[in-house]
Assembly symmetry: C2
Homo-oligomer: 262 residues x 2
Amino acid sequence: MLVEGTHFELKKNTPGEIGKKSIACSISDIAAMGCSAKYAVVSICFPHETKTKFAKELFLGMKREADAYDIKIIGGDIVSGKKMLAINVVMYGKNDGLNPVTRSGAKISDAIMVTGTLGGSILRKHIAFKPRLREGLVLNKKFSINSMIDISDGLVADLNHILEESKVGAILYRDKIPISTDAKKLARKTGLSALYHALHDGEDYELLFTLSNKESEKLLASKPLQVRLSKIGHIKKSNGIVMQDSKGKLRIINPIGYKHFK
Amino acid sequence: MLVEGTHFELKKNTPGEIGKKSIACSISDIAAMGCSAKYAVVSICFPHETKTKFAKELFLGMKREADAYDIKIIGGDIVSGKKMLAINVVMYGKNDGLNPVTRSGAKISDAIMVTGTLGGSILRKHIAFKPRLREGLVLNKKFSINSMIDISDGLVADLNHILEESKVGAILYRDKIPISTDAKKLARKTGLSALYHALHDGEDYELLFTLSNKESEKLLASKPLQVRLSKIGHIKKSNGIVMQDSKGKLRIINPIGYKHFK
């Protein structure tokens, strides 16, 4: 579910952008399973003061994004609410004989890889990202991917989801984290490091996955994707995440979790 | 989608009641198709100040209702929002070889029937109703039901949905509308008639359906349901809804629609 104030701002984002993002986020979930997205069911709560023009543009944004990935919006519902815009998209994927990739299959010694660059998505990418649907499908079709997730909570937090579900730990290589230019830009504003933003910012919607080192070498050699690929660490036996710098020095990294309840 | 201020009030309703209702509404949608409900996917937006106790009780309300109808909650997501509680439930039904009943199959001369009694649900029923899942399934299994809907917007408004989708009109028998005791109670407060409340109040979640007059006689004679059944009118060729009183006098009834946009 995407809600005003958390996933978009009515003052900053156009209705078309909000519609696009709501579909794209769900496509990204299917991408992370290495499958095709086929159908979407959309539920929307519009605040009472919503104008028809706004609703139409929101839907057009959804429709355009769905069309771009050959997805049909097949149903849903509309309600009116006092307070805020909320959008729920349920996306239906198809595995076409492939095994959907889960978060729970990471194996000890697996290479940890990620698509694209990370951090600072709040500056723009969070509302305009391209879900990695094609990439996830190619990875699942041509390589033996052991676990995969899309980065919505942040690299460390989402890696932690894989680790918890796979009951393993990880070492990250500090110098290999692909830091985006927006992470650097944001770091100048926040006073935090660009690396910090790459590790902890959410909503990059890149794919984070693990596969045997041999498979990762095959992947890096065959270059089947147009997007940047980085090998950023490996899976180890014991719990938690440790970051290793170029001199081999180790530091424990804790996920900065989103706490839903008080 | 169910949202605070529209479908429930945090000050009036317990979290358990809200959870129960969110599942029951979706069960009612499946009931209206005359099928079995099997799986639910639940998305929730919790306001930032939500306490764990509240979230647990909400979920327990959902779980108890799902269990009562042998439905499994198989997934979903949780987000945090600035402003309000919103709950989206996607319910998966199974037709078990039956044809799902739609809104578009009403035929000229069909009898119009309804389960239970109507009106005044705001006093209590809207948060505590029993979805007519078993009833819908029995109707679809044992009788030839041409169209069906659950009453969420109100008798007239939901009948109008059937009429529009079936491209037909209807005559309602004024003296046959099953008016609830809560409709009478509410009428004393609002100054409107109890009949008005039975015709236009939403959220009764009773089943409204049409079938040939012969089938309706068979249904009334065989009494397969424990709930009250009323034959409240019949389908006619021309558009709109007309109400006929005991003296044969006719009056056009307009649905009091819910306007989502300005």
